[in-house]
Symmetry: D2
Subunit: 411 residues, 4 copies
Amino acid sequence: MSQRRVGIWLIGAFGGVGPTVAVGLSALRRGIVEPVGLTTCLSGFDQLDLDDPSAFAVGGHDIRRTDFLQSVREFQHRARIFPPDLIEPCRDDLLNWSHNVCPGTIFNSGPTIARLAELPEVRPNESPRAAIDRIQADLNAFRRNHRLDQLVVVNVASTEPPFPLTEAHASLECFEAACRVKDHPPLLPASGLYALAALDLGLPYVNFTPSLGASFPAALELAERRRAVVAGQDGKTGETLLKTVLAPMFQKRHLRVLSWVGHNIFGNRDGVVLNDPDNKASKIRTKDQVVSSILGYKPQTHVSIEYIESLDDWKTAWDHIHFEGFLGVRMMMQFTWQGCDSILAAPLVIDLARLALHAQRRAEVGILKYLACFWKSPMGVEEHDFFKQYAMLEEYVASVAAERAETLVGS
Amino acid sequence: MSQRRVGIWLIGAFGGVGPTVAVGLSALRRGIVEPVGLTTCLSGFDQLDLDDPSAFAVGGHDIRRTDFLQSVREFQHRARIFPPDLIEPCRDDLLNWSHNVCPGTIFNSGPTIARLAELPEVRPNESPRAAIDRIQADLNAFRRNHRLDQLVVVNVASTEPPFPLTEAHASLECFEAACRVKDHPPLLPASGLYALAALDLGLPYVNFTPSLGASFPAALELAERRRAVVAGQDGKTGETLLKTVLAPMFQKRHLRVLSWVGHNIFGNRDGVVLNDPDNKASKIRTKDQVVSSILGYKPQTHVSIEYIESLDDWKTAWDHIHFEGFLGVRMMMQFTWQGCDSILAAPLVIDLARLALHAQRRAEVGILKYLACFWKSPMGVEEHDFFKQYAMLEEYVASVAAERAETLVGS
Amino acid sequence: MSQRRVGIWLIGAFGGVGPTVAVGLSALRRGIVEPVGLTTCLSGFDQLDLDDPSAFAVGGHDIRRTDFLQSVREFQHRARIFPPDLIEPCRDDLLNWSHNVCPGTIFNSGPTIARLAELPEVRPNESPRAAIDRIQADLNAFRRNHRLDQLVVVNVASTEPPFPLTEAHASLECFEAACRVKDHPPLLPASGLYALAALDLGLPYVNFTPSLGASFPAALELAERRRAVVAGQDGKTGETLLKTVLAPMFQKRHLRVLSWVGHNIFGNRDGVVLNDPDNKASKIRTKDQVVSSILGYKPQTHVSIEYIESLDDWKTAWDHIHFEGFLGVRMMMQFTWQGCDSILAAPLVIDLARLALHAQRRAEVGILKYLACFWKSPMGVEEHDFFKQYAMLEEYVASVAAERAETLVGS
Amino acid sequence: MSQRRVGIWLIGAFGGVGPTVAVGLSALRRGIVEPVGLTTCLSGFDQLDLDDPSAFAVGGHDIRRTDFLQSVREFQHRARIFPPDLIEPCRDDLLNWSHNVCPGTIFNSGPTIARLAELPEVRPNESPRAAIDRIQADLNAFRRNHRLDQLVVVNVASTEPPFPLTEAHASLECFEAACRVKDHPPLLPASGLYALAALDLGLPYVNFTPSLGASFPAALELAERRRAVVAGQDGKTGETLLKTVLAPMFQKRHLRVLSWVGHNIFGNRDGVVLNDPDNKASKIRTKDQVVSSILGYKPQTHVSIEYIESLDDWKTAWDHIHFEGFLGVRMMMQFTWQGCDSILAAPLVIDLARLALHAQRRAEVGILKYLACFWKSPMGVEEHDFFKQYAMLEEYVASVAAERAETLVGS
């Protein structure tokens, strides 16, 4: 049996995460790195029929004039975090895949993102309909040219400002009606257009950011209609991951959290965008809810994100947790997390792409709730406890494995 | 139905933990504190028929000349951590319970512990047999005088040096034979004598320390013979708790831990004893194994414990975790934990007493493995992941609840 | 020679710092604490003829209905930081001194401070002239009733919003002219009224806060005219002190600071006021300038102050310093400072009161520049390096000592 | 006037610091890095006639088989801390200078250092006299071959175990007498042989390590006799630097330090050697004395150094400072320092070489006490306060500048 050929389409391909995904897929294919950081390469996951990293072709949309090779080199030059001899063997892949990246859209993404646009094809006044058509043409061309069996679309673009939902988003019918109204105010930001374009083609859609994406009823209805899978949102990579690991400990030991303060500083391109208070608001919202949800009560919480240029990709967090124990005694835990944002995110993107493609092959439809452990704001799931979320994933793996075993026995 | 009357017997009653247990039980009984820090007061545990804190009488052994009230006052004066108005309402309980504390034994506990002995009744050259007889007489007198339905023995004494086991400890038969050999070198340290004394009377025995206690085959055989329950060992209160919470995160995210360094500083009486390298060795051994066990491989680890007098009960830990993520990138997490040792330990002691008495009533026998989440070195259990250990406890609660429901239906 | 009798007048007497000053002066007088934290009790300062703590009577203004004893007890109850047996011996002093505290003014202090006012005498629409007259009457009555040789006024009230200066503040003449204009918009916030009232009586005035106080030309001119001394402003107690200690190290080692981020969290009454963005702005401004001033260039800096109620007086700061060393290598220093705000401030207030009274006796006039080491924003001094500032104080002490020696020889 | 030609001779040339000095001198000469980290490149020091980095030729002794280029590449590959494109332009210098490195001696350096020896010329049983002769021949050949005007010898070799001094070291006469005794036990470790060899030739000798070097009376007498200058010892680069910066703050604010705990972890080659308890003892001794010396009393102190391989050159320190303020309140400061050991040390080595050569030209003799700010254990100086030490250096610079100005006027 010849290997399946699959594609991953990165919205915001040349940001911090996209090039790291690309160099990572190439390096894995060439066997020059181990799959450290990939959950789906832990033992246990070999029970699923996941695509090998070597099966992936890479494409995407971006609004800046660069390519994967240049982006990776710049990243390495600025942040000096991965071995310099990693890039050269991946050079051809990075250059080839760069040809698959098409001009994106900045429709309604807010002024801070719009300022990043460098390509003449990125037109601020393109109509949403025209943008969707163009996106779909790009996706179809990529599938056709690379003779892909499957294609997954992943949003790794910069965070948009929060987008208020209205009645028009409440159902596909309402939404389509609103679209027909002449001069209707914008119904979606760019992330929503990409999501609709992908889902309308029946493609798996993964939202690694806190932007709107497919997180509104009309989009989910479309996913059902087109038999597409959806996963999201906002990858849980660092400080929030720790919150969802530590809060269950305080809860299970009946220690009363009085306050939980988290300060985040970092300086990569995402940071430039998050430095706009509007864009930052989306991020803080998803970071701030998890603690109360796990504890079952609301301690005082505070989350800040600041753009500190010199740190580049080193996302550094300081959390101060003040808690009360027996006899009213107040105690403290503090942690600092010094992680490279893109390096933590990229393997999760590959994990999610593999799992979403796998789900599509199994004819799953709609939100993949068992992926909750990957998200700051898991769609359709209230659980934030990382270990309970992970148990959901393990149960899924076990049930698929059991199914496969039955099939084999049956055949 | 009149309330059961139960007792808790604290070996090392006047150390850091014992007086905190006493003032805590009194304050809970009087309703002046909430049961913060007690796992068994979380919702869910009300499905078990656990003894109310007000049902407990307190007794114990110690080698120093003081009482519960004085110990609590000294603690408050030195460490200023709990509200000063907490003590006065508990005054009578503390004085009354102090009358139940008898002179302990320092048989083979090492010179550092021996130096703490202040009572003439604590005779260094008492024979082990005489010590056991005396301990049993004390336990029986306490049960009789207070008309207790049940009594649980908890070791909260200072950590002894590691005690090497021999063939003589491998079975009850061998042990009894060795006991009969004249001039045999000491077969047990003090903690072992207390454990044997308790188990021989069929009492539940809980070892909150890393000392030997009942953790050798002959003692466990004796527990089986006398239908006694055993729980231990070494309460997981602070830095090690965090290790068993954080290591699973690194494992599940496939992040490779390169090194894990933990430095602990504190200055309470336990610290004086741990400052003796022999005694410290016991503690470090149990603190250092958990990370490798959870990860499934051995990163470089280092654990230190230093006695810093000014910190008193504030056990402060700094952990530095160096880990590798995708593409060979090395990142860091650090945490500091500023916890009050006795305040963290005391509610767990009450939890364990309640659960052990409950187990005895249910006619359970031997090691209570479902209590693994309380221990740095859970007897009879390989699992160190705190959340998997906690799931064992939840399963136990659920199964008892189901049993009770059936019984009710059946009746 | 009978001892001089001196007074300290605390504006904001019942805030966090005022009651700590009061209990501290009482405890020092009674010999139950050592003068830890007082710079002026270091050896060397005995060369100056400073007033003994026992020479001080305490008075002040406040807008809330409480007293020193109650404030100290509340503080002790909430924060549990000083020995509980400290308060009782100081009880009489605290009660007596409370009678010396008069209703203050909230003229133009901003809505957040105004909301704290509890006394009917604190009238929002009192004219500035009437407020000054009332303040001066209070000061004179205190001096008269206690037969004080000298009186120093210290502002320890909550931080006001920044107050924009105009042409009217540029000279005493302009200021007096503006005062005569009918319906002129408010020329000063409350802190300015207090300062004018004190200086106009020729009293030493110390501004321990970042509020305006006497920091405008017209006030300084008045000080010259009345031969009064002025010291300020904004006591350097914690994170900023550390900045002015550490930045010189980076500068002298030619290490290039890339970014310096400081996050402050605390929860005492000052924190409530600082939680108002207007009031906070004053504080952040004085905290943020020192690093660039010392380094001689402007790294990226960020300072935050957040009100976290559970921390009460524990002002906790996390600073992250990113710096470049040889060959372009980037390194990090981080610190956390866990200090009690009032406890750090109160001894400096006593130091400053002693030094200001001493200066007045020596017929010094205007800004006491040699006190720069006490201030976040030293008036009239550009130097922020703590050790250079401290050297200025040492030089002053040496020169006074030399003068005294000469006088003695001469006599 | 043609430029002076000077040489720097590195004992332990291929360790962590040596290759960084070499690549740094080359990169400075080629203008591809700025002199960040060099104190002598701060403004003010241009008043001294110091040698330009481009004037330096590099030579040295080592016991391992490698070269500067390979060492720098390995360092870059392991630690990824400086820009990879830094090395190529320096390639020729590094290769050329490697030819100047001769086999060293391990005479009496302890077994851990001896195990590192790879060259057949490094003979364990060479006599001290033969070793000194060989060292001097190497130094003379370097001077001759490169036609150097001056040569400075700097010890950057691994730390030796503490070496106990005897009567024989108390004067040059006693020492020479002991040398003549047949079968006398070793009088010196290797560092002492190197020091004697250099001083006997009248060369400036700088001891960047805590090893013995020239720190005994007989060696200092020899320096006087040969008119040589001596500087040392043990470069103050990280945690100890911070101690000598922070302790003066606590002292000047009259805050009472109760305990100061410092834990250091790192993993470079020096760390391998320091992992031997004997070698570590030398280091801890110099790190542990500074705090008490500055404070004027002895708080509890604890210093640890642990070899954690994964950290390589990232010397990470955690310090916990527990202190008492006003009214007996206990507070905490903690810091973490994440510095690259070699990167912090190398520019100081260049500073010291420049200053020692300058001193020799000025005909200074003996210990250069004004260099105290560079040392953990400044020879001949009791002062540990970094800023007071730095003031000594500034005074020296000012006095030399004044002298030069006079000379110019006079000429």
